[in-house]
Symmetry: C2
Subunit: 139 residues, 2 copies
């Protein structure tokens, strides 16, 4: 596997609306998507474009959202994960498993509409890592 | 201010050597710089290239390194900060101060040889944020 594009940095937030205002008014973001629910992941998400990558704002959706535990520790939010692109999600899963890294569940459709999985931070230098198949029409 | 390039994601590690092996052998990085000391910041750093940005590996340097407190909480390491580029470091400092964000100290020379400062995570949605003047010859 060759290291792919950093598709986004995932940033947890207690309020996507407040974070959108922050990225627009303080950080100077000029391209901010519409927030949308991703019920299968228990998150509401919103992408903020930077010139070379994106910030994915993630807010808890539902009582069992995995973001709730993160916000319990860090109520103001913070860096949650990084996401790298791969050309083939199944080859990537086999690669990480062969390296002894714990892939968290089967590939599923992520926020960009292509298959994704997460790899356990304990096997990734403490960094929760999302692996995402590159959208076919992108870049 | 307009949101600039994400220059890098800073990742704290107890061992740059072990992290280099991880990024090379597990993540598939093909361009990894030479580690070097940045004594004024109390860190040893190493840049790992991705196709569109960089990972900055940071290891504590010296007993008073600010990375020691981070590793005391997260011994395996993890996401430490994000760094955005700006065209003019002094204009950026004035911008953030006018927004009420706490700039941590005066601009100083960072790992890429241009002036940088950090902004307090409490004013940045929980994200420790480095602001870096774009190298003149870059991109």
């Amino acid at each position: 596997m060759i290291l792919g594009r950093l598709n986004h940095v995932g940033v947890a937030t207690p309020s996507i609306d407040a974070s959108i205002a922050f990225y627009r008014d303080v950080m100077g973001a000029t391209a901010i998507g519409e927030p949308f629910d991703l019920p299968t992941q228990g998150v509401r998400v919103c992408f903020v474009d930077t010139p070379n990558t994106q910030i994915e704002l993630i807010e808890p959706l539902g009582d069992t959202s995995p973001i709730r535990a993160f916000l319990a520790k860090s109520p103001a939010g913070g860096q949650h994960h990084v996401c790298y692109e791969v050309p083939d999600i199944h080859e990537a899963k086999a690669w990480f498993e062969a390296k002894g890294a714990r892939v968290l569940g089967e590939p599923r459709i992520g926020a960009h509409g292509t298959p994704i999985f997460f790899v356990h931070p304990r096997d990734m230098g403490g960094v929760l890592t999302e692996i995402m198949e590159t959208p076919k029409e992108a870049h």
